[in-house]
Structure formats: C-alpha cells, structure tokens
C-alpha cells in the first residue's frame, strides 16, 4: 500500500459559507432534515512503491501542515486507507 489520504476540514468554530449555501439549498430538494453541512477536501498522495509506512505518514503530515491545509483555520487528518477502502475508480 503506497497511498496516504489527507482529509482537510475547516475547524469546527469557523464559518463554512459553502456548507451554509448547500444546507440552505437542501429543503428545495426535499432534504429539509439535514441540519448542517460542512465541506472539506480529500487529497490522495501516492508514494513510490515500497516506501516505509512511517516515512509516508511523517511526510504526508508535513505536506499537509505546510501546503495542503491552512492550520490557522483548518484541521487535517492523515491516514493510510485499509484494504476495504476501494482503489480509485480510474
């Protein structure tokens, strides 16, 4: 496994205008029971075959902190997807 997934979300206390716009549109689709929507982004990093798991985690964390996320207003998680999670449908 050479893939690392980084999920970036706005911190819970930060306003998400995009999410607000979606939640306000949902009643028009008949999905009025949705109370809140938060929108983030998922980034997939493919490391070269055989890279050490610990190295992948460390590098992905550094990449996320310095480039992918804005730590002032966003949180991120780094994970190595397990086998049950589907490969990209390319």
């Amino acid at each position: 496994m050479t893939r690392v997934v980084v999920d970036v979300m706005l911190k819970p206390e930060i306003l998400d205008p995009q999410g607000e716009a979606v939640v306000n549109a949902l009643p028009r689709l008949g999905a009025g029971q949705v109370a809140s929507v938060r929108i983030g982004k998922r980034i997939e990093l493919e490391f070269t075959e055989g890279t050490d798991e610990k190295v992948m985690r460390e590098q992905a964390t550094e990449i996320a902190d310095k480039l992918l996320a804005n730590p002032v207003i966003e949180d991120f998680t780094v994970r190595l997807p397990d086998a049950s999670e589907a490969e990209p449908t390319a």
Partner: protein, 770 residues
C-alpha cells in the same frame, strides 16, 4: 476555562452573589488588578463569567480607547465648526453633507493583527467590518479603498502576507460589488512582523435617512439581523488586537473569523429597505466585541436599560455558553431597535432577502434605584446585570507617560541633504530608473487589477490616479474624491509634522482632481502605548492632525486607533494614515493625471526647496532615515488647492498630478507612462538639477495647460500667491522624456524599469523567462 464551565454550571448573578470569593481569570483576559476591583465596585459583587468577559472586552484598548481618549478632546476643541457635519467622532462613522439632500459617510479602520495571522480572511473581514459601519449610518456603501503596508518586498514572509491580503480584499469587495478606487501599497522593514491592513469605505445617503445607534423608546424590540452566531474570534478583540505577536505567531493560533460577502450583500439590501420604509429606530453593526459592544453601546447611547433573552440568539453551534455568545465576533450581523408595531414588517423584509432576524430583547426604563441596567437572561436565569454605561462609556482612562525619543536630536542632525548625490547626467538617469523600479514607486497594477474598480458604473477615477472619484448623481454630475495617505518615515522623524504631511498629501491628492476637500478621517497605527516614546509620538501625531484640521478649516469626522503594532520591543514607525474627502460639483470637469495633448505646456506649481531627509531617494539609494522631513505649509496647500479647483471649473488645465514620493522625477515618469505620450522639459535655474528632480517639497503639482490658456493660468497663480515654473511641453513625437541638456529616456526604458517589480516578486503563476 474556569472550573465553573468545565462543571457545566452556568455562572448566574445569584451564583456570583453566593460565591464572592471564587477566583476569576481576569489577568488572562487582559484586565489589571485595579480594573477588576473597579468592576467589583460597579457591580457590588464579583462579576459573573459573562460579565467578566464583557468588561474585559469593552475595557480593552481596542474598544475603550483607554490610552488614546485623553488626546482626542483636541479634535473636538480644534476642529472647525461646519454645518456640513451631520455625524462626527463617537458615531459608527462620520457623515458630511455634500448637497442639499445628499450626504456621504466615510471611515477608515485597521485590521492589522488578524491580517498577519490569516492574511486572506483577515483582510476580507476588514472590508466587511468597515462596510457595516457605513451601512449603520444609513448609507449605501459605494466604494472601498485600502492603504496597505508590508515589510521588505523581497522578504519571504511578505510573499505570504501580501498575496493573501490582496486576494482577501478582492474576494470580499468584488463579491459585494463594491469598486476599490485607491489606497496605498508601501514597503518598509519596520512592518515586517506587523503589516498594516487598513480599510476605508464610503457610502451615500439622502440626508433624511441618517440613522443613529441609540436604543431609544422604552418597550421597543431588540432584533438581531444577519448570520448565525458561532465561535468566531471569541475574545478576538481583546486577545488579537491587544496582544503583541512573539516570534512564534503560529503557536497561539487564535480563532480567526471567516466572512461571507454574499450574506453581507443581503444585509445591506435588507437594511436599506428597512431604512427607506422608516422601520428602524436605532441600529448598530456587530464588529469586534460582537453583541457585547452592540448591546451596551446602543443602550448607553439612549440612557436606557435593556433586557435580552440570550437563548433566542440563533447559533451555529448549540453548545455555546452565554459568555461565548456575548463575545463572538461572527461576521455579517446587525442589531436593530424596532418599535413593536413595526416588528412584523421588519421580519418580513428580512425574510424577503433571506436574512435571519430574531427578536432577542426589549428596551427597558431605568430602574428607580439603580438607573439603567443591561440584563441578559439565559434560559430564565440572569447571567448579566450591569449598568450599560459602565461598559460603553466609563471604562478606564489612562494618561500614559510620554517621552520624546532619546536619540531625537542625533537623528535630526543626520540629514539626507548631505548624502552623496548622482554625479552627472548619466547617473541622474540611472537613479530615476532605479527609483521607478523600487517597490514603493513601481507600478501597482499587479495589486489593483485584482480589484474591481468600475463595478456599479460610477467610478470616474481610480488607481493609478491621485485620488478615487465616484459620481453620486447622474443628473447633476455631483461627485466625491477620496484619497488616503501616510508616510511612516516622515512620522518617525517628526510625528507632529508626519501627521500633517499625511493630511497635506491626502488633501493635495483630492485637490488635483479639482475637488473641494471638506472632511478628514484617520487611522492611527502605532506601537505599544505602554512605551513612553510611542505614546509621545502618538500625542504629537494627534496634535499635528488636530492643528492641521483647524488650519485647513475642515473637520476630523472620526477615525480609528490601532496600538500594539510591534514585534517584540520594536514598534513600527508611527503611521498615521489620513483620508480626505472632497466634493466635485460636476465630475465631467475633474482633472486626471498624465500627458495627453500635443503642445500642452507643462507647469510646475509650488515652491521647490532642497528637502531630501526622509525622502524616497534617501531611503532607496542610501537606506538612510534621518534629518527633518519636508516643511509643512498648509497655507500653500490651500492656495494650490484653490488654483486647481478654479482651473478645473473653468477648464484651464488638461491634466494635473501631485508631487510626493520620488518628487518631480517620478511625477514626470508617471505622467509620460499614463498614456505613453512623451514630453520635452528643461529644469529651471536656481537649484541643483538633482534637487529639482528628487526633492520632496510639499504643496506642489505639475499641470498641463492647453495653448492659449497660459496668460489666464499665470494670472490665477499670481492671484493665489502660488509660485509657478514653466517646465516644458507635451510632445507626442518624443519617445519618452527628454530633460534638456541632461538625458533622454524612452517609454520602453521607463516601462521596463517601472512595471515588472511586483509581478516578479509576487506572481506565482508567472513562468520564468526562457
């Protein structure tokens, strides 16, 4: 967090009475021991958690102006009386009458600290905040401007901060549909750890629509309008705006706010509809200090009480505690005071625009024994019960110690006039080109092209002109001109003169459009008021501005103070930024810069002296800052403004451009590059060529005079005692600028020097030249 909240108990007034000795984190909230004791004296008990939060915010430097207030009485004492002034200092923004039925509201504010922590959102919410201030006066916001100051242009952190700030301003302002008509971009190492992001907004209102903040009328309903309340910037005002950044600013990671310009747009339209329908008794925007500030200021302004059911406030996060709701700085909210009979209509207008509106409280009569009280309930239990005036008006006032800098005399004698100068014509030309490419004088298009300058269709002039001009009336052509200026280097050398020089430059920039300057606003950016040298420079700047306002005969209508702009112990240069508003009776007669018509005579108005200390040349070529700044002559500024105004009215000039940073050399270069039309000039006698080109003497402008008007212009100048010098002629066959007997410089050479600086530094999409 205190033990009270972690235990899930709400700290009510009853509980505060029962547990008088419970320790409270007042110091962590920025309150001094004696300030905390005063709160206990005011209340006759310990404050509740919510009250402590409210006092800590309202008594912070940012909200209480506790260090600056003693200096501001000068504005009231010295400001000239005028019947144009409809709202002045102490209101959300100044309002001045520009015609029988129209008035203009304008103000500049700082958003320095948030913009350093998170440049994009910090700058964006800075626009949002100043726009709501203008809206709260009853005006429709019509334009914004941004005076910006950053550290060294080539520093890596400037590459982080500047693009973010510019993107934030453009994202919020462009989304709102407001043209950005000017401002400044200045670089100096003193702003490296503390950039200055100031934002100005201007709005227009019929005189009869003027609003005020007082929560008057017992029984009236208190309505919260706009976005839901979340945990945005909790304590942001007292923590963000009053603390200084250490080296590791990232570690604190305070909770910054994210705004939504589309909600703000709906807020603007709904408020304007309510004003026009006469539904609003009082209104206040929620900015820094959120509900705390809005509730206490509206109640205090009316001298009445207020009772609020806090659980009615619509929340983004249900778990929020009373003190968090009161301190939240969530954006895009306004507080309305509405008569009960008009409440349904107000709610209907809000619904139409898709904005939340919630009745959260009621205006109360003063209690017979204790006077007006601000009472906040939380699910039936009282969590705040205090006099609103004690929060809004009776905060601490400090007369901070002031001391002139110890090295003042040494700096004053270290004059730039003695520095080595270009030796020959070849070096003069090289200096002109190097200076034109320097970050402070170079082309700012890379920044301003990211802003929408012409949306709404009323922009007459915008950057790179000296002032922004907006048309207010299509029928009469009535318009306004606005400029903001400030020079931290001048103010560092002499803060009294520095403030007046900023005022003089903004005044002149407005005047060169042909407008009549009528009002002043300001944003005073300084270091820590606890530093006696900073406080001295602040006192001097306020005195300079107040005296300048009196001398020019135009009032200071309001402003903003930003303290604690420093890194460690090192403050920024004192940076008073001054905005001047002018009126143009007919914008079709405004003057713009740039050479355009073949054969026009070029004149230099005003007197040139060998004044180089604090100049762009001294800084750029020698990294020198010493001596005394150019002489201030406000009488000469007024005379120059009279000539420009009169000449614009009777169309004697084809163009005008103010002389300031970089002197005549820079003004000539900009005038040629404006339309790519060349000129042949000859420097007058009497002074060194170098002084003619690079001195920064004030009260000067270059103007172009169509053939046949020379005699009239000469008479006009003589009548007003404005010295003038013939400089040369506009010549479309000349490629660039020919300075007789010295050098010629082509348009191409000038463009290659002037244009690429900012794109090369900040354009990430630019591909390296191959």
């Amino acid at each position: 967090m205190s033990t009270v909240e972690s235990a899930g108990v709400v700290d009510t007034v009853g509980r505060a009475q029962a547990t008088p000795d419970e320790p409270q984190p007042f110091a962590e909230l920025g309150l001094r021991e004696d300030e905390y004791q005063r709160i206990r004296d005011v209340l006759g008990r310990r404050p509740t958690q919510a009250e402590l939060a409210m006092y800590s915010i309202m008594w912070s430097e940012h909200c209480s102006y506790k260090s600056s207030r003693v200096h501001f009485s000068q504005f009231a004492e010295k400001s000239p009386k005028t019947d144009r002034l409809l709202a002045g200092i102490g209101q959300n923004a100044g309002v001045v009458r520009v015609s029988d039925d129209l008035a203009v509201s304008f103000k500049v504010e700082s958003h320095n600290h948030p913009s350093f922590v998170e440049p994009h959102q910090g700058a964006a919410t800075g626009i949002g905040g100043i726009v709501r201030d203008i809206l709260a006066m009853g005006a429709r916001p019509v334009a914004v401007m941004d005076p910006l100051r950053f550290g060294e242009a080539s520093h890596p952190d400037t590459a982080r901060v500047l693009p973010g700030v510019v993107a934030g301003i453009s994202q919020y302002g462009n989304s709102l549909g407001l043209p950005n008509i000017g401002g400044e971009v200045v670089f100096d190492p003193c702003y490296q750890g503390n950039p200055l992001v100031n934002a100005l907004c201007v709005g227009v209102l019929p005189v009869s629509r003027l609003q005020n903040m007082a929560a008057s009328g017992v029984g009236n309903v208190v309505v919260l309008l706009g976005a839901k309340t979340g945990r945005d910037g909790i304590g942001g005002v007292s923590v963000l705006a009053s603390a200084t950044f250490g080296d590791d600013a990232g570690a604190a990671r305070p909770s910054v706010q994210v705004g939504d310009p589309f909600i703000e747009k709906l807020l603007i339209e709904s408020c304007l509809e309510m004003y026009d329908a006469g539904l609003i008794t009082g209104i206040q925007d929620l900015g820094g200090a959120g509900l705390t500030c809005a509730l206490s200021e509206t109640a205090a302004a009316a001298g009445l009480g207020m009772r609020v059911a806090l659980e009615r406030v619509p929340l983004r996060e249900a778990s929020m505690l009373p003190h968090e709701i009161l301190a939240s700085e969530s954006q895009e909210r306004m507080l309305l005071i509405v008569e009960p009979s008009k409440l349904d209509e107000v709610l209907a207008v809000a619904r139409k625009w898709g904005v939340l509106a919630t009745a959260i409280g009621e205006v109360m009569p003063p209690a017979a024994d204790t006077g007006p009280r601000l009472i906040v309930d939380w699910h039936g239990a009282t969590v705040v019960d205090c006099p609103p005036g004690s929060l809004a008006d009776d905060g601490p006032v400090y007369r901070r110690p002031m001391r002139p800098p110890a090295d003042r005399d040494l700096v004053a004698v270290d004059r730039a006039e003695t520095l080595p100068r270009p030796a020959d014509a070849e070096e003069l030309k090289a200096t002109l080109l190097r200076m034109a490419g320097s970050p402070n004088l170079c082309d700012k298009t890379w920044v301003t092209e990211q802003y929408d300058r012409y949306v709404r269709g009323n922009t007459v002039l915008a950057q790179p002109e000296d002032a922004g001009v907006i048309r207010l009336s299509e029928e009469s052509g009535l318009g306004i001109a606005l400029s903001t200026d400030g020079n931290g280097r001048y103010a560092k050398l002499d803060p009294y003169a520095g403030a007046q020089l900023a005022l003089a430059e903004a005044y002149r920039n407005v005047a060169v459009t042909g407008a009549n300057p009528i009002a002043i606003t300001n944003c005073l950016n300084f270091g820590s008021p606890e530093d006696p040298e900073v406080m001295w420079s602040f006192g001097e700047a306020v005195r300079g501005l107040a005296d300048g306002s009196a001398a020019l005969g135009i009032p200071v209508t309001g402003g903003n103070v930003s303290f604690y702009n420093q890194t460690g112990m090192v403050p920024i240069h004192p940076t008073p930024v001054v905005g001047v508003l002018g009126v143009l009776d007919d914008v079709s007669r405004r003057l713009s810069s740039g050479f355009a018509n073949d054969g026009d005579r070029i004149l230099l108005l005003g007197e040139t002296r060998p004044e180089l200390s604090g100049s762009e040349w001294a800084w750029q070529e020698h990294r020198h800052l010493g001596g005394t700044p150019p002489e201030v002559n406000l009488v000469a500024e007024q005379a120059l403004a009279s000539v420009l105004r009169r000449a614009a009215e009777v169309e004697l000039f084809s163009g005008a451009h103010d002389l300031s940073d970089g002197g005549l050399a820079q003004a000539l270069l900009e005038s040629v590059l404006r339309h790519g039309v060349g000129a042949r000039v000859r420097l007058p006698d009497g002074l060194d060529d170098f002084v003619w080109l690079f001195s920064e003497s004030t009260a000067r402008a270059i103007v172009t005079v169509p053939r046949g008007h020379e005699a009239a212009v000469r008479a006009l100048c003589e009548e007003n005692d404005v010295p003038w010098q013939p400089l040369g002629i506009v010549d479309s066959k000349m490629d660039g600028l020919d300075v007789d007997g010295l050098f010629s410089v082509s348009v191409e050479e000038m463009r290659e020097a002037w244009q690429p600086t900012l794109p090369a530094l900040f354009d990430r999409s630019a591909t390296p030249a191959t």
